[in-house]
Amino acid sequence: MSRLQRYGWLSVLVVFVGSLAMAITNDDVPATIAERAYEIKANTLCPVCDGQNVLESNAPVAAAIRRQVDELIEEDRSDEEIHAYLARQYGQDVNAKPPGTGISSLVWIIPVLVAVLAVGVLSSSFKRWRSGRGKLVTDEDRELVRKLRDEP
């Protein structure tokens, strides 16, 4: 690595770390009531309108849920309590985020398991490839190629 490159990388690193630090500190605003309400509404699906959340939907029941969320926040309920309340009222499937408990926790766990498994398989094939290097073409292959080439 030339000296120029080393300085280049150093400055890239400085800018990178600096920006990330700024990004973190900028983000560090306490959740206001409005932000909490927004977050809860965005994570609650409208029960009658096929996949839209209550923030986006114009349906009357969505408006009702929006009002309910505002009231519950004013009553000083926690986010979890509000989600649980809405699930009791309108069914578990208004909660857009599957809970991390019970059977629905699988939806979070399975992808991680699959990823770990796949990485395992990939790294083991890498090992196999590395140990098998140099034996790319066997005599059998050469024979096959020769035979096929000789065919009219």
């Binding site: 490159q5 965005a42 578990q92 629905s104 790319l136 096929l148």
Partner: protein, 638 residues
């Protein structure tokens, strides 16, 4: 007219039988011509019926009206289930016809013959649907004076006329590579020959699918009024899944061409891509999943599921049967090589597709097992897919800079400095412009480095070969990478930094969101035929006057809000009316959303289209490079 469709279907079955006897390959080409002709006549008849308001046909009566503008009358063909299947059949015929024409001189090759047989089997399935359970030509005994018309959401924007066609061009296009994969597996000839032949087809299908998906997003943004363009809705996911596996294939096929590796994997990707298009259609058409796209739920779901099962079982069987024979020679020497990153790319795309698939069908699985009803919505997909997406962006910035086989750390440090500097610069710039949060800023930075490395590759190409450097696969691929980076910018910025407010306004009132002042000028309240339309004039400071509207259709339950978007390069001011005001009142409830960089997403889509076109142009330079010893061996095999 129905008879024509029926005869086509029958001919196909006869033909399939002929093929099995492995004689009369030439004759089958004539049957293809007849099938295409029959399908064109059927589509022509349907369009004629729509244009002439022939309400004796149930389809026309159910989906069209006398008042429907001509362009939407034409588009009504794909506005509902039966017609969209007819469009599917037409496009399928187009692809099959084109494939048969391209390979007409090689028809005596058993691989081509088997591929054609596979394509025709798919045709038989679709024609079977059209003459049986989903016939578009059912007639009514009592002819109504006027039709019922389409869902109003489907006839208020010209994008609706193009989006389904592009999407279907993508969906259907994967039939050809699928058929060739099947043909290759059956004949057991798994050299590179068939791949080179079908790569073009895959690329066309992929390009159309990309544009189709983005047009759908754009339509959703311009029409649905909720302010977004992507909701991880089951039907969106269904179109996204084949895109993911198709994209993975377009990358891994390069490894097969260059190094002769990953053959089983590539075949499986093609089979999976086609299977996912059928599965997606099943999800859309069966009504098993709640979705905003349920414009045409019907009872043909089980048939699609059965067809899907046949494809999956058949594919698994074929791969299992031929698996040994196609085990590839060669190996990947180092993870720090082009092929190493392609492997990582495929791993990530497969994982991405798996998460999307799991999230989409998980509520169904849970309900089947435990009778519980749960939803898997946007927060899940955002959380799970963000790390994968960022990793893919990181790969996109690194991979083009690596060489084949292996790259030393020193060269790597030199090559990657440029993209890394672009990335860090983008991060600093985004912070200066007010971005915040670790993940969004990191994502923007990775987008920046992707731009850097793609631009670097294009520069090298054009410096060496002039403007021709951008033509061909490498140039086209890099242009598409730039498109993806732009989409990433738009997606991240508009998701993480959007702001909104809801205001109740009287004429003359102003409101302000994130520094944008909007002023309510007045409303127009009028009747358009039987439909009551309320259109508000909103002045957006520095952008002009816009008129979001809301319409109540007597034939349709809730009022439909049509948003209006004041676009700029930097951000969109998205205006939509929240509720229809009482008659005679001029007080409105206005939702204002500020969405940064949304327009970059559409530009990115245009670049992907351009990149696809560039990649389709044959490039002499690349072709000569591909004459490596390994492909010679493969050709000898063929």
């Amino acid at each position: 007219m129905g008879l024509i469709g029926a005869s086509c279907g029958l001919i196909e079955i006869l033909l399939a039988l002929l093929m099995r006897k492995s004689s009369g390959f030439k004759r089958s080409l004539a049957w293809v011509v007849l099938m295409v002709a029959g399908c064109v006549i059927a589509v022509g008849a349907m369009e004629l019926a729509l244009l002439q308001n022939n309400f004796s046909l149930a389809y026309v009566a159910g989906n069209s009206t006398i008042e429907t503008p001509t362009i939407y009358k034409i588009a009504t063909l794909w506005g509902a289930l039966e017609g969209s299947l007819l469009l599917w059949a037409l496009l399928l015929c187009g692809y099959v016809g084109a494939a048969a024409w391209c390979f007409r001189t090689k028809i005596n090759d058993r691989l081509v013959a088997w591929s054609l047989a596979t394509m025709l089997a798919v045709c038989v399935f679709f024609f079977g649907l059209l003459i049986g359970p989903a016939s578009p030509f059912d007639t009514l005994t009592s002819v109504p004076l006027d039709g019922e018309g389409l869902n109003p959401l489907l006839r208020n924007h010209p994008l609706m006329a193009i989006h389904p066609v592009m999407l279907y061009l993508g969906y259907v296009g994967f039939t050809v590579p699928f058929a060739f994969a099947v043909g290759a597996l059956i004949t057991g000839r798994l050299g590179e020959g068939w791949l080179v032949a079908t790569r073009t087809w895959t690329l066309i299908a992929w390009g159309c699918l990309s544009i189709g998906i983005l047009l759908g997003a754009w339509w959703s943004y311009e029409v649905l009024g909720w302010g977004g363009y992507w909701a991880w809705d089951p039907v969106e996911n269904a179109s996204f899944l084949p895109w993911l596996t198709g994209t993975a294939f377009l990358h891994s096929v390069i490894v097969q061409e260059r190094r002769g590796m990953l053959r089983v994997w590539n075949l499986s990707l093609l089979l999976a891509t086609f299977a996912l298009t059928i599965f997606g259609t099943f999800l859309t058409r069966s009504g098993v999943i709640d979705s905003v796209h349920e414009f045409s739920a019907s009872s043909i779901g089980p048939l699609f599921l059965g067809f899907f099962a046949i494809i999956v079982v058949g594919s698994v069987f074929l791969v299992g049967w031929r698996g040994d024979r196609i085990r590839s020679p060669g190996s990947i020497d180092s993870p720090f090589s082009r092929e190493g990153t392609f492997l990582a790319n495929n791993f990530l795309f497969a994982l991405f597709a798996f998460v999307v698939l799991l999230g989409t069908i998980f509520p169904l699985l849970v309900e089947a097992v435990s009778n519980e009803q749960i939803a898997v919505g946007r927060p899940y997909f955002d959380r799970m897919l963000m790390p994968i997406g960022l990793a893919l962006l990181a790969l996109m910035s690194v991979s083009p800079m690596l060489s084949w086989r292996s790259t030393s750390v020193t060269t790597l440090a030199g090559k990657l400095l440029g993209p890394a500097a672009c990335g860090a610069g983008t991060m600093a710039l985004s912070i200066a412009l007010g971005a915040h949060g670790v993940w969004p800023v990191l994502g923007l930075g990775l987008g920046g480095s992707t731009l850097g490395s793609a631009a670097h590759q294009i520069l090298i190409g054009t410096r060496r070969h002039g403007w021709k450097g951008i033509i061909g696969r490498t140039g086209g691929g890099m242009v598409a990478h730039i498109g993806i980076a732009l989409i990433a910018f738009g997606f991240i910025a508009s998701t993480a930094f959007s702001e909104e407010g809801e205001f109740v306004l009287q004429p003359g009132d102003s409101a302000s969101v994130a520094g944008h002042e909007v002023t309510f000028v007045g409303v127009e309240d009028y009747f358009d035929g039987p439909n009551r339309v309320v259109s508000a004039q909103i002045k957006v400071e520095g952008r002009g006057t816009f008129s979001p509207a809301i319409t109540r259709y007597p034939t349709f339950g809730r009022p439909i809000s049509t948003p209006s978007v004041a676009t700029s390069w930097v951000d969109d001011v998205y205006l939509s009316l929240a509720a229809i005001p009482d008659e005679g009142m001029d007080r409105i409830t206005l939702r204002v959303l500020i969405k940064p960089l949304v327009v970059w997403i559409w530009m990115g889509g245009a670049l992907i289209g351009l990149g696809t076109l560039l990649a389709l142009i044959p490039n002499r330079r690349e072709i000569s490079k591909e004459d490596s010893p390994s492909s010679e061996v493969q050709e000898a095999k063929l």
